[in-house]
Amino acid sequence: MKFDTPATKNPIDRLAVVGQPVDRIDGPLKTTGTARYAYEHHDAVAHPAYGYVVGAGIAKGTIRSMDLADAKASPGVLAIVTADNAGPLGKGDKNTALLLGGPKIEHYHQAIALVVAESFEQARSAARRIHVDYAREPGAFDLARARDSAVKPGTGKPDSAVGDFDGAFAAAAVKLDATYTTPDQSHAMMEPHASTALWDGDKLVIWTSNQMVAWGVADVAKTLGIPKEKVHLMSPFIGGGFGGKLFVRADAILAALGARAAKRPVKVALPRPLMFNNTTHRPATIQRIRLGATREGKLTAIAHESWSGDLPGGKPETAVDQTRLLYAGANRMTALRLAELDLAEANAMRAPGEAPGLMALEIAIDEMAQKLGIDPIQFRIANDTQVDPEHPERPFSKRRLIDCLNVGAEKFGWKARNPRPASTRDGRWLAGLGVAAAFRNNLVTKSGARVRLGKDGIVTVETDMTDIGTGSYTIIAQTAAEMMGVPLHRVVVRLGDSDYPVSSGSGGQWGGNSSTAGVYAACTKLREAVVAKLGLAGEAEFVDGRVRAGGRDVALADAAKGGELVAEDAMEYGDLAERYQQSTFGAHFVEVRVDAATGETRVKRMLAVCAAGRILNPKTARSQVIGAMTMGVGAALSEHLVVDRNAGFFVNHDLAGYEVPVHADIPHLDVVFLDETDPMSSPMKAKGIAELGICGVAAAVANAIHHATGIRVRDYPITLDKLLDRLPPSTDA
């Protein structure tokens, strides 16, 4: 099915099931521990061997020699895989560094061996008995130092320019020129990267925790040098990904190689301390923002330049993307520059581009509003645009940023805020309120599904879509239930299996809308088959388990009496996304307390108002947004992969050192969804929501800290040491 004209009325609009805050259909499996994750397929794999990954102990250089004798002689060891004995390996299209390194080492903790043993403990113990002699080479680990060597990247759209920025900026009555930094960050999802692999002849069967099944199949096949048809990949449940599991990682490839070497099924989970340097991370950025405005508060010049680093062959963090679209202004430029760094691979993490980009831009907007003496909400409203500012002929499909700001201001009590920074005291605390705009592009992508109508009237959906904890099972079931006119409990959803039709997968907040649109397409076909089978004529209505058309009223299940009906289709997209700019919008409001003596910041309450098309399930959508807000608090206050610039690695590589928010950090969270549909996005009229929730949060926290203290911090995370010297004297406490 092709979606190339705006959606009109369709069965989803009934909203009998879609749009309802139903509980997750996979909830009972999760709460009873019966949802099987990649490391837990005990039913299918009774006696697996265990693989333990050895990571390189240097950041850059070569392995001179590797002594495996002690490890081989360790109790229980079945096999040791290294680059020396693994046979020829390719590199996945989506990988930058090799997943099994050696002799060349590209980054710290790059996998250099897998020890396979009878037990996990034996494998781990033997892994410590591999002795490696390295020849170290100097590397580049410091983005600030590498900044001058950064180049214009060869991929994507690194530069944009409209009008005459330099002239307009020079002539502007009020100017801001500020540089912001965001640190390297880790996905730090709960479930580590994990895989269980077995060989059935020349066919690889692999359960792995991966957001993108079809990409996974392709890169496993390419890396191992086997045809795609020989890879059966399954990822039915995923304990969090945030972009860290978009790509095949070492656990999958090494499990496959280990199983081949040991002639046994092998399971591999990355140990937590390896995850931070072995896998991907969100790279640090340096961002320079220049804004020029009239005294009345109209932006006339906007420039945003961003520098980030990656391994050779890697990609930049696209931190300027939102600046091309968020505010009006006739003269503008953006630029991305990429430096080579020898740290672990930089890649996507929840809202790549916008999340770090808004961390900078939305402080800059706050600073400019302050310079102008204009309320930051009014300043944003005054510079709203309903068209793509770089291509004014392209309107936004829907853009309700102003509504988000106004609704939020009302609900949060913004009016009562004294605009003067450092004006409000609450006992030992300095109190402040901050706001930021949220913006994230809406991506749509082809997605397929197969739907079966059984004799018993049960509707079964099969698609390789994944559920990374987001609620895909549930919204897909809601979609099928709505389309086929059956209650939710009459729908079975099967996900994450490469035997099923290729879907959008989960990433870039495209999964919810795209995968349900694919199910819509398949259900549309199934409805046609049902109508044909029942010999009905005219417009058919599917409700309450019945099909009504042309005056007849038949049980849906009757259509499958003579055998199961199966329909398969995919939703594909025309050029609506080119003709209309599709984005999601929101506003984040944050109240903080900063300890006047110690500079500790604690968030007191938060509100997100989102305009993101139809909300398919307000309950799962809210969970996404509050989770994202929590992650935004981490980005604002504590999350920071610290680079050791001598040894070239992220030092704080465990959950004790990489501080994500804990429960005590997260206070009252409130989410409001504006009632909206976007007919340009898909027949679902929905858009992404899961990444919008993080976009702008950190800046709202930063702006609240500024409001509380009068101190402007432009380096994330905003830890107390950055405030300490500028707080009021502590003897006044």
Partner: protein, 318 residues
């Protein structure tokens, strides 16, 4: 993990004797620190002596009006004890500021005192660390030092002691009771339990081989207002950047110990004489020989400001 043998101790004397005679033996109590380190082979005991069955889990009054806290009293139980909450609130608060409820349920009094540093390089076997591997060097010196000590350090090691409980016990003048391999017992001031790193950072305490901690004795209650103020990057479940244990009397005099700044709980009886007249002089005295790096120099200011805040707390809660 290296294979090890295991036994359950039958008496304190037997435990101490065995620990001294079996090569590579170590005591295990709650195991919340030791087992983690064993899994990654930073600790590699050949033999474990499990002391959990010993009769060391009581909190008893001492004849002079103090409290004897058995070595196996769990952090949760100690923090919840009515006498501790009433007479030594600084200790209860320090305990509750540490780790998580689950860990505190398991963690013991002796184990907490003897827990090892949280220096990230100590935990990474691919990095040089004099504490883990004497003579290999110290990666932290030229590396990331935000969480590290600024006083009492050496060129060999700058690791901080992570315990909160120990800081409060130090301010309370606690004594540590032990039994040695030959069956003799002794009592030493907590102040003398931990060593500074000097050139031997792998030697962390003054305990003899096999010496078993049996109790910590708190002298009679010091009175005054008690404050434990732990400053950290998130609201819970993080080690202290700086902590202040304060016992303040009505006339403004009192005692101060700092956590997060040194390889052991940091207190100077001499410096704290100035508490009533000039609190900043106390910090000056405590931190006078500080050696900082750009990423931890803030601890100098933070310690000052946190003491001020603790004094303000004490004043307002009187």
């Amino acid at each position: 993990m290296k294979p090890f043998t295991y036994e359950r101790a039958t008496s304190t004397a037997q435990a101490a004797a065995r620990a001294a005679s079996v090569p590579g033996a170590k005591f295990v109590a709650g195991g919340t620190n030791l087992l983690d380190l064993m899994k990654i082979e930073i600790e590699t005991p050949a033999h474990l002596i499990d002391v959990n069955g010993l009769d060391l889990a009581k909190i008893e009054p001492t004849p002079d009006g103090g409290l004897r806290v058995g070595a196996l009293v769990r952090n949760t139980d100690l923090a919840a004890d009515a006498r501790v909450r009433r007479d030594y609130p600084v200790l209860a608060r320090a305990l509750l500021a540490g780790a998580s409820p689950q860990l505190r349920n398991r963690a013991t009094t002796a184990g907490n005192l003897l827990q090892r540093t949280r220096c990230p390089y100590f935990y990474d076997p691919d990095q040089p660390c004099n504490k883990r591997e004497p003579g290999s060097g110290c990666a932290a010196l030229a590396g990331y030092r935000r969480m590290h000590a600024i006083v009492g350090t050496s060129d060999a090691c700058i690791a901080a002691h992570p315990s909160d409980m120990a800081v409060a016990m130090r301010v309370l003048d606690a004594q540590v009771e032990t039994i040695r391999a030959d069956g003799t017992t002794r009592s030493l001031p907590l102040a003398d339990l931990h060593r500074l790193p000097g050139s031997t950072p792998h030697l962390e305490t003054t305990l003899d081989a096999g010496e078993l901690v049996t109790a910590v004795v708190l002298p009679p209650p010091p009175g005054g207002v008690h404050v434990y103020r732990k400053v950290r990057d998130r609201a819970s479940y993080a080690f202290a950047l700086v902590s202040v244990a304060l016992v303040r009397q009505a006339d403004g005099s009192g005692r101060v110990a700092l956590g997060g700044v040194a390889p052991k709980p940091w207190r100077s009886e001499e410096a704290e004489r100035a508490l009533a007249s000039d609190p900043q002089a106390v910090v000056d005295g405590l931190l006078k020989d500080a050696r900082t790096s750009p990423d931890n120099a803030f601890k100098l200011t933070l310690a000052r400001r946190t003491l001020d805040a603790a004094i303000a707390d004490a004043r307002s809660s009187r």
